[in-house]
């Protein structure tokens, strides 16, 4: 009975995802008739080449990025909440996203001197790839540091504290750079910090999908470990699980997801915290075999809706995605806490 209910909800969410995807693609600052949007989507052709460009090259990649970000951030958040048994954990607690931030800041601010930028350009990187690679390098660096530390620690709580401290250190380094940099560069960095789904196209989208897919596969394969961890490290140990090994695998997965998405889209907050709570209250389960795919669906629907809301139909301006996710995500979490006492899983 309960199984069919869950199946029904999953199917419902799938339909919702499809609808949200189409909604996101059909709404924008340029008015394109719905029929034309569908024609472009399914036949890749339109009489109006401008509309075709907008749907094919702007809206479609953006919606795909929203889906990927929704997948990755919510599963990353779920894993962290389970690993640390803390309802406030999100993919950023590991410091990986601040690491990505640091990488970007090192290019935009510290590298601000045109001389060093020139030198990097000579290496063959240029444009958006430069920022993305820097973010990946930053996220990867912090991830290695976290992994090295985690193999020496026995407790996940200590890991949590260390993650937050690493985040603080990287953010203060960035603050120093910001303080010392030219206002123009700081502005560009701030813009990056607002997060954006619109900058990922072509080959970048392919790479982002591969990274997210890798992170998700690892997460799905470790769902049993996550179930066990939820009951406490001692219990997990009694089930024959090595908490340290499990922790390393989970950190790898979350780092890939959070680091990859931050590298391509900039920081996107709140989805990672909010979606696991929403999903748990929807499905009333603690089994990660269900929670992980369900989180993917809820996360991507939420991201698509946020992206649609950010476009403010009729306006020529788009609001930064990072603002919208918090604006929508925070009230949702409050509502859930008030209506469903669903934090019990974190005893």
């Amino acid at each position: 009975m309960e199984g069919t209910l869950k199946k029904g909800r999953i199917i419902g969410l799938l339909l919702l995802l499809l609808l949200a995807f189409l909604l996101d693609i059909s709404i924008g600052s340029i008015k394109i008739p719905l029929g034309e949007v569908f024609r472009i989507l399914f036949s890749f052709h339109s009489e109006n080449s401008t509309w075709q460009f907008i749907v094919e090259k702007i809206r479609f990649p953006k919606a795909c990025t929203a889906v990927l970000a929704g997948f990755g951030l919510s599963v990353g958040g779920l894993q962290m909440q389970t690993l640390f048994r803390n309802p406030l954990a999100d993919p950023a607690v590991l410091g990986v996203t601040s690491g990505a931030n640091l990488g970007v800041a090192s290019i935009m601010l510290a590298g601000g001197g045109s001389a060093s930028l020139y030198a990097i350009k000579e290496l063959g990187f240029s444009g958006s790839w430069l920022i993305t690679c820097a973010a990946c390098a930053g996220a990867g660096g912090v991830m290695l540091l976290v992994l090295a530390l985690s193999s020496r620690l026995n407790s996940n709580v200590m890991m949590l504290i260390i993650g937050i401290m690493i985040g603080s250190i990287t953010l203060s380094v960035i603050s120093i750079w910001q303080y010392l940099s030219d206002p123009d560069l700081v502005k560009e960095y701030l813009l990056w910090n607002f997060g954006s789904l619109g900058g990922v196209t072509g080959s970048q989208l392919v790479i982002l999908s591969l990274v997210v897919a890798a992170g998700l596969i690892i997460a799905f394969l470790s769902s049993k470990k996550l179930d066990a961890l939820l009951l406490g490290e001692n219990y997990a140990r009694s089930m024959g699980l090595t908490p340290k090994k499990a922790r390393i695998i989970i950190i790898c997965s979350t780092s890939l997801l959070a680091g990859g998405i931050t590298a391509f889209c900039g920081p996107i907050g709140f989805v990672g915290i909010a979606v696991p709570h929403i999903t748990r209250s929807l499905f009333n389960t603690s089994s990660h075999r269900i929670l992980i795919p369900a989180c993917c669906l809820v996360g991507s629907v939420l991201m698509l809706l946020c992206d649609t809301a950010a476009q403010l139909p009729g306006f020529q301006t788009v609001l930064p995605i990072n603002i919208i996710t918090a604006l929508i995500g925070a009230p949702l979490v409050i509502w859930i806490i008030l209506h469903k006492n669903n934090l019990r899983n974190f005893g």
């Binding site: 444009g127 900058g199 301006t317 788009v318």
Partner: protein, 393 residues
């Protein structure tokens, strides 16, 4: 002995200045006064008349000038007052809250390329003793002084080294700050006796209005005579070109700038850039938008225009078509990219990466306008050689 002769000198000077101002008030030009103006120290005989700029006013009195820096914010206008008092004369009373600047100012601390350009235009670039950041410097005079160790880097608006500036005892510090927002941070400096003047030329809505801030610099160094003449010729050249451009038969459609992460900032309709485009006879889709800064647009909102535009100007921090496509492969679909009608205002970028467009270009709007007209309507100015702009390959 020295003190007496100095006092005597100032007494003679002020009598002379008074006479000069008096005769000037009657409208009779005096040769002596003009000669003194060229010497550059005496109180100016000629007044600066502001015709384009909205951000400041200058009122002339016998031995002092009253400068008001205005901040138009909706219906209310905020004012900062400055008394420019001729060296050796008494500070007039009755101006509470006004900062006092002794003129002619002999040493300047400036923040932006624009300030350097103002000083250069007035012929007093060698009086710059402090500069916010050396990285954005084009003026050869100032660069030589930097090499000779005569100019100190003092940090940008947010984090100026107060102690360093105060110990330099500059005659004035020009800041980029908005007249009301964030001006409080200069309190230490003003308490220590360094007058701080915000230079909000970037709030002007026309290129000539921006350039006219040279007259404020002129008032500070008693060079109204020299600067007025120079500005008049800039104005005349600009107006002639603007007539030529705005009467052009065609209006090629133009897009400006480069999107970043899906947001595209276009100059707003009341910005000086939009005015340049209007005067150059360009078709600019956002010419009727409100605001003097820029409009934040969605990439999608600009795409229809970008796909079919005739020209793409001020492309940003890129130097070739390859780099533009590297930023985002979608940009290669824009018509100006395909036809090669891509022009960037970076021709005068020097070996340290500073772009003179932001410096001398700001006080030579007639040259910038000529460049844009030549790009959009080559038939109107066939012999013009691009100065600040270059075509990207």
């Amino acid at each position: 002995m020295i003190k007496i002769s100095r006092n005597l000198f100032f007494l003679v000077l002020s009598v002379f200045v008074l006479l000069g101002a008096f005769s000037c008030g009657r409208g009779a030009p005096k040769k002596e006064a003009a000669a003194a103006g060229e010497a550059g120290d005496a109180f100016s005989s000629e007044k600066a008349v502001i015709r384009h700029a909205h951000g400041f006013t200058i009122d002339y009195y016998d031995h002092y000038k009253l400068v008001r820096i205005l901040d138009h914010d909706g219906t209310k206008t905020d004012t900062l007052k400055y008394l420019l008092v001729q060296e050796g004369t008494a500070t007039p009373s009755g101006y509470p809250g006004a900062q006092v600047i002794t003129i002619p100012v002999k040493s300047l601390v400036v923040m932006s390329s624009m300030h350097v350009a103002l000083a250069d235009f007035a012929g007093v670039a060698d009086r710059i003793r402090g500069l916010g950041n050396f990285a954005y410097l084009s003026s050869t005079v100032v660069r030589n002084n930097v090499k000779a160790g005569k100019v100190t880097q003092i940090g940008l608006d947010g984090n100026i080294n107060n102690e360093l500036v105060i110990s330099m005892h500059p005659g004035i510090l020009m800041s980029m700050a908005n007249p009301d927002v964030g001006f409080a941070k200069f309190k230490t400096m003003m308490d220590a006796g360094v007058p701080v003047m915000p230079n909000s030329e970037w709030l002007e809505t026309t290129p000539l209005g921006r350039a006219e801030w040279v007259k404020l610099m002129a008032a500070l160094v008693n060079k109204e005579d020299f600067v007025n003449k120079k500005f008049d010729s800039v104005e005349k050249a600009y107006d002639t070109l603007a007539q030529l451009g705005s009467r052009a038969a065609t209006h090629p459609r133009v897009i400006i700038g480069m999107p970043f992460k899906g947001s595209w900032y276009m100059p707003a309709g009341e910005s000086y850039m939009a005015k340049f485009l209007r005067d150059a006879g360009a078709g600019y889709k956002w010419a009727d938008t409100k605001g003097i800064g820029s409009v934040a647009l969605d990439f999608e909102a600009v795409a229809p225009e970008a796909l079919t535009a005739d020209y793409w100007l001020n492309v940003g921090q890129v130097d070739s078509k390859k780099e533009i496509a590297g930023k985002d492969p979608r940009y290669a679909s824009f018509k100006p990219f395909k036809t090669g009608a891509l022009y960037n205002n970076t021709k005068q970028t020097n070996d340290i990466g500073a772009n003179d467009y932001w410096e001398s270009g700001a006080v030579n709007p007639q040259v910038v306008l000529a460049d844009i007209i030549h790009i959009l309507h080559p038939e109107l100015l066939p012999n013009h050689q691009l100065v600040y702009y270059k075509q990207l390959q």
